[in-house]
Assembly symmetry: C2
Homo-oligomer: 477 residues x 2
C-alpha cells in the first residue's frame, strides 16, 4: 500500500460526514464486519480503546464503592415479563434462544438486552434487612438488541457496555446515587475523553422503560448532531414491587427498596471519532490512546538510529510508547500515525542524533517542534497534558458556539434546518409537541438541562401554551 | 448470624468433599444460582477473583505480543459446519437463537461455544501476505455449552474464559506458540495461583475437536482428582484449509497458514478452592486475593482504636487492605476472614496500641504473631511473600506424594480405587485401552507428560502389547 493510497482513501468530512466516519473506522482498523448481519468485530485498535475506557471508568466506579459481578446471558421469558413497561420497551427487539443441546426448550430464553430483571431477581434473594443495603453492583458485558439498521459502534445488534444496578434503603439515597453516577460519567468524558457534555433530565417520552427519572449526558459531534453518551436512571420502587424485593427496615416493618441503573457503551468510541477526528483520520486524547507516542526512525538502517529510538523509548517507558521499526517507509509510518490518531510522533534520524535533537509532531495540530533529545522526557509529558487540555477546549468551544435559542417555531425550524448544532427552546411538557417537532424537523428532545436552564420565554415553542421546561433539542445518532 | 453458625455450616472435606466445596462456594459468597437452569451468578467475591486472574494473565499475554479483540456472540449455522471434526464436537451441546426482533431467522445462529469458526472467517478476510503474519489475537468473553449436569465454576451452561487464536507462516512457528502459551499458563498457575501442574500432551481421544495436538496443564485437587486447568492446541493447517485462509508466501506462492488456539476459564476458581481451601473455608494465595489484609479493630469504640487501624491501612496502601469497621463482633469478623480466605488478619485493640503492637494472623496456617506496629509494613509484605511460597510448596508436596506407578492392570485398578491421586502407567497408544480403563475404573488419560516420562515398563498396562507412551491417569472434574 503506498503512502498516497492511505491518505487518498478518506472522504473529507465536509463532503460526506457519514462516509468519512466509515472510512476512519475501516482505515484505522477499529472494526470489521462479521458474517453475522448487524454484529461487528472489534479489531485490536478498536478493542484497545474499550479496554482503556473500562480501566479508567472502572477505577472511578470502585472509588464510589461499586462492586463488579457477572449475571447470566439469558433471561427466561417469564422473568422478563414481570415489569410491564420494561417488557414493552424491550420485547420487540430481543433475540430468542429456543433450542439447546438438540432439544426444544420448555421456555424461551431471551439474550439479555439489559439485565434489570436478573439483578432484581438476585436482589429479591439476597436483600432481607436494611443492613444488607445498599448494594452497588455493576457488570461489564455484551448485550443484544435486534436492530434493523446498524452502524459501526453507534448501533449494532450486539454491543459492549457496563450496566450498574443498585438498591437503596431510601428514595433520597437512590436519587443521590443516580446523580452521582451521571457525574462520574460526565467527569470521565471531560477529563479522560476530552469530550464536553450537557447534563440533564430526559422527558417522559425519552425515559428508560420502567424508570421514574432518566438523566443523560449529551455530547455534540463535529456535524452538530447529538450523541447520548451515558444515562443514569432512578427506578423508584417500581421494579422492587414487580420483583418482590423487600427488606425489614429500621422500624422493623417490611419495605420495598429504591433502585437505580446506569450504563455507558461502546457508542463512546463513535463519539471519540466524531468529536476529535479530522480529515487525516482518528485523533485520540492522550489519556485514552493505546499508543501515546510513536517513535519513527529516519534512515533506520544507518548506525545508531534504531539504538537512539529505543533508548528514547526506554526513557519514556512509563508512557504507552512504541518504536515503529518495521521496514515500511517513514512516509507510510507518518500516514499511519495520523490515521490511527496517536497523539505524538517523534522522528529521529542521523542528523538529529548528530545535533542531539529529535522532531516532535502533534497529531491534533500537526505542529512540529525540534527539541533537545535530553529534554525529551519532560517535554513529551508536559506536551501530552497540553494536548489533552487543548482537545477538550476545542471540543468545548465547538459545543458552546453551536447552541442556539429559538423563541418562535419558525425560528426553531430554520435553526434546526440550517445550523448544525442544538437548539434551546421552551416546552409545555406535552408529548404531542415533542412528536410534532420530531415529525416536522427530525429533532428530538435531548434533555432538560441541569445548568443554564433559565426560561427564555414563557410559551411552548411549538403550541404556544404556557411553558414548563427549557429543553435542548437536536438531531441525534 | 452468630459466629457459631458461620463456622458450623461448613461440611468437613473428609466427610463429604462435594458438599464441602458447595458450602464454601455459597458461604464465601462466590456465586449464587440464577433463574436460568445451569447458569450461575458471579457475586462480587467470586468475580473479583476472575478480575484478578484476567489482569495478571492478560499482562503475561501482552508481554508475548498478544492483542485483544472481541468477536460476535453468534455463529451462523453454515459457518460452524465448515470444519467437520469441529462441528461434530460442538454441535450437540450448543444453544440456538431462532428468533430475533419478533421474526423467525432465516438461518439459525448458535451462541458461541468457542470461536474458532469466527476467527477463521476473520483471518480469511485480513490475511493475504506473509507480511500480515503472525496474527496473535485473544478475546475475553463468555461461552455457552448446553451441559446436562452442572457444578459451580466447574461446569455450567455459561462460563467466562479467554480464547487465543493465532495464525502463523510456518508449522514450526505455530508449534512454538502452542508450547509458549502452555508455559504461560503453567507459570501463571505456579507463580500467581500457587498451583503446581503437570504439563503434557493429550491423547488423540482427549484432543480438541479439529486439532492436530492438544497440550494441557493438569492440577490435582485435595481429593486427588485432576482438574484440566488450561489447554493449548496446535491446529496445523486444517482449519485454514476448511475456511480458505491463504497467504502469498516469500516464494510468491499461495499457502495455508498454521494456527493455534488456547484457553483458560473460570474453572480455575474451582481449582483455587479445591487446591487451597480447608475446613474453615477458602484460602487465597496473596497474589490473587481481592483483599490481602483485613484489619480488625478490637473494642473499636475505644478512643484511638479505629484511628490506629486506619493509620496502619494507610501505611499498607500499596497492598489490597481493608479495615473492617462494621458493627459486628470481632469473632464474626475473624470467622468471615477465614471463610473468605483473606491471607492475613491484623488485630489491633487498646492494649496493643499501648504496647505499640498488633497481632498478625495467617489464614493458611492460623499462626499468630505479635509484632511491633512500626515494623508492620516490612513484616506484612515479607509475610505475604512467604505465604504465597508456602502455599505453593504444600500443594506441590501433595501433588508429588500422590502420584503412583502401576506396572500391572491389577495394581492400576487397586491404586485408582484406593489411593486418591494420579497413576503413571504405560500405554500402547490404542483408544480401545483408554476406553477399557475408563469403563473399569472411571479414570481417564490426563496427559502424556513432557517431563519425568521415562518408560516404567515396556508393556501397555491394559492390554500387555508393546507400550508407546507413559501416561498419567486419574479421575477428573
Amino acid at each position: 500500500m503506498s503512502d498516497k493510497k492511505m491518505v487518498e482513501s478518506i472522504t473529507s468530512m465536509d463532503e460526506d460526514f457519514a462516509q468519512w466516519y466509515t472510512d476512519i473506522v475501516k482505515r484505522a482498523e477499529l472494526m470489521d464486519y462479521s458474517s453475522v448481519k448487524g454484529c461487528m468485530i472489534f479489531l485490536p485498535a478498536g478493542y484497545a480503546l474499550w479496554e482503556n475506557i473500562q480501566s479508567l471508568l472502572d477505577k472511578r466506579f470502585k472509588a464510589t464503592g461499586v462492586e463488579n459481578v457477572y449475571m447470566p446471558l439469558f433471561i427466561p421469558e417469564s422473568l422478563l415479563q414481570k415489569e410491564k413497561d420494561h417488557v414493552e420497551g424491550f420485547a420487540p427487539e430481543v433475540a430468542w434462544v429456543t433450542e439447546g443441546g438438540q432439544e426444544k426448550l420448555e421456555e424461551r430464553l431471551c439474550v439479555r438486552p439489559t439485565s434489570e430483571t436478573l439483578f432484581c431477581d438476585l436482589y429479591s434473594n439476597i436483600v432481607h434487612s436494611y443492613r444488607d443495603l445498599p448494594k452497588v453492583f455493576n457488570q461489564w458485558c455484551s448485550v443484544v438488541r435486534w436492530e434493523k439498521t446498524t452502524r459501526p459502534f453507534l448501533r449494532s445488534r450486539e454491543f459492549l457496555w457496563q450496566e450498574g444496578h443498585t438498591v437503596h434503603e431510601t428514595a433520597e439515597e437512590a436519587e443521590e446515587r443516580t446523580v452521582q453516577m451521571l457525574n462520574v460519567y460526565a467527569d470521565f468524558l471531560r477529563e479522560d475523553l476530552a469530550i464536553p457534555t450537557i447534563k440533564g433530565q430526559k422527558t417522559e417520552k425519552e425515559r428508560f422503560a420502567g424508570a421514574v427519572a432518566t438523566y443523560t449526558i449529551e455530547a455534540m459531534m463535529h456535524d452538530g448532531k447529538a450523541l447520548q453518551s451515558g444515562t443514569s436512571h432512578n427506578f423508584g420502587d417500581g421494579f422492587a414491587k414487580a420483583y418482590g424485593i423487600e427488606f425489614t427496615g429500621r422500624d422493623n416493618k417490611l419495605h420495598n427498596p429504591h433502585q437505580t441503573s446506569w450504563g455507558l457503551s461502546t457508542r463512546l468510541i463513535g463519539a471519540l471519532i466524531m468529536v476529535h477526528g479530522d480529515n487525516e483520520g482518528l485523533v485520540l486524547p492522550p489519556h485514552i490512546a493505546p499508543t501515546q507516542v510513536v517513535i519513527v526512525p529516519i534512515q533506520q538502517k544507518k548506525e545508531g538510529v534504531l539504538d537512539a529510538c529505543r533508548g528514547l523509548a526506554d526513557r519514556l517507558s512509563d508512557l504507552r510508547v512504541k518504536v515503529d521499526d518495521t521496514d515500511r517507509s517513514p512516509g507510510f509510518k507518518f500516514a499511519e500515525q495520523e490515521m490511527r490518531g496517536f497523539p505524538l510522533r517523534i522522528e529521529i534520524g542521523p542528523r538529529d542524533i548528530e545535533n542531539g535533537e529529535c522532531v516532535v509532531v502533534r497529531r491534533d495540530t500537526h505542529e512540529k517542534t525540534t527539541i533537545k533529545l535530553d529534554q525529551a522526557e519532560s517535554y513529551v509529558k508536559e506536551l501530552l497534558g497540553r494536548i489533552q487540555q487543548d482537545m477538550y477546549d476545542r471540543a468545548k468551544k465547538h459545543l458552546d458556539s453551536s447552541i442556539y435559542d429559538a423563541k418562535s417555531y419558525d425560528e426553531f425550524k430554520t435553526l434546526i434546518d440550517e445550523k448544525p448544532g442544538f437548539v434551546r427552546a421552551m416546552w409545555c411538557g406535552e408529548q404531542d409537541c415533542e412528536d410534532q417537532i420530531k415529525a416536522d424537523t427530525t429533532a428530538t428532545s435531548r434533555c432538560m438541562p441541569f445548568e443554564n436552564n433559565e426560561p427564555i420565554s414563557d410559551k411552548c415553542v411549538c403550541c404556544g401554551k404556557p411553558a414548563k421546561h427549557l429543553v435542548i433539542w437536536g438531531k441525534a445518532y
